[in-house]
Amino acid sequence: MEQFQELLSTNPFLLLSYLIGSITFIMGLKMLSHPETARKGNMIAAVGMTLSIFTTIFLYKNHNGEGLHNYVWIFAALVIGTVVGTMAAKKVQMTSMPEMVSLFNGMGGACAMLISLIEYNSDLQPAAGKLIIIVLGMIIGTVSFAGSMVAWGKLNGRIKDRTIPGGQVINFAIFGAVIFLSAMVVGGYTGNHAVFYAILGFAALYGILFVMPIGGADMPVVISLLNSFTGVAAAFGGFLYNNPVMLTGGILVGSAGTILTILMCKAMNRSLMNVLIGSFGAKPGAAGPGGNKEQGNAKEISLNDTAVLMAYAQKVMIIPGYGLAVAQAQHTCHELEKVLTERGVEVSYGIHPVAGRMPGHMNVLLAEADVPYEKLLEMEDANDQMGGVNVVMILGANDVVNPAAKDDPSSPIYGMPILEVEKADHVIVNKRSMKPGYAGIENELFFRPKTSMLFGDAKKVLQDLVSELKNV
């Protein structure tokens, strides 16, 4: 109970501000889960955070009753972080939002890691309880940091997908080493600082190897998971300093983040385990049951023919996917829509809820390109209207239009609702190559009689299509 006493003896205004901070976090998360209140919720949490930060700086006193010093350092760091953070967040393209979130998440993890590092170095004779907290906070913070950096690198294309043979076994061994060494340090069997740094090294390695084999399209799920890791790391900081706002903030994110991760997987009709070890399924040879079926030849269509087909259509539906985001083609896509509309063609967009493998990704992307809201059809509406559509243009989407989800019970995505593009008269698929989608499953749609393939980078193809259309 002595720590409880210690908490009571701190400045009541500080505690009050922490209470307000915790409440704003809860309200913020609650409001973030409703479309109308989401933006306000984010603001409220930001206000609570700012309040908690400044009251800590000015009102915090340690158990000897001393306040904080080094104000110059603190404020310099705050200013640098604020300026760089704001600039980075304002400048980032809408298409690269997930990698930005991953980067910021990594910063939080690194922050937790550094706190543990300093605490370990400055307290020579820590109690076992405190040591556990320091070590666990360090491990989780480091895994989150290293993993987030890899996720960031993979999303912006700097790091390629790589599967190490026996990767799961190596990971398991590293995880074991982390646990073993931690037990040695916490149990007091060794006071050697080198062991502590070895734990840090192994944890970093684990974070890297854990994220490395996961496919780029699954990254949002991984980021969400690492996000909740950082939350837990922050909560360990709360234990370390008896700090209620760090505790509530961290644990809230930890549990909400975990649920969110599971919800994201559900929206893709997959399990978390499937995402985390799914890299096995994506390897050639294990391309799913559809892979060994004899597929016909896919039919190609020229740009010119596509332009003619679209120009004389009455209704065109555009179905965007991850490929559109990768090619940053949302503005060009809007241009195509305008050119077609000028010719009297009715254009709409069919938005699958998990198109782009990041829920809501396409809505944000197309909203950025000023595509009118009423042109964006949700999946049910899109499917209802599909029958009257002459040309469906699929831009870099794959699994969300794969008929195997309806017809093939042995397919990994069986049961996932899809956009039923085959109800339209013509289906044109723009892809960079015949490579299967993230799930590594062949898409039979590409070989169906109604389907024509238009290969190339989405942005380039759309630009050419727009200029072709002007000549038709």
Binding site: I53, W73, M97, A110, G237, M246, L247, T248, P359
Partner: protein, 105 residues
Amino acid sequence: MIEQMLAFFNSNYHLITIVILSIFLGIEVISRVPAVLHTPLMSGANAIHGVVIIGAIIVMGEAHEGDILSLVLGFLAVVLGTLNVVGGFVVTDRMLEMFGKKKKK
């Protein structure tokens, strides 16, 4: 070892209660979010765990003048924590701004 853990439980009883309740609260608060908001919500939660910065500020503020290593690491920790908080909230706001714009039209 077991005695130590019991002692730890004893002295941290109220914190452990907060943890357990917060876990349930986190699950409850989030469980009915529409898929469209998954990404902004993830980003907002990302900003909230930036609360770890408070630990960094305490470490930094308690470091001794002569302890260069702690000062440098603490400084770095505050910078990174601020990046997490500020960047996180600003990015989330930008994402949600798009939704707002979309709604008005």
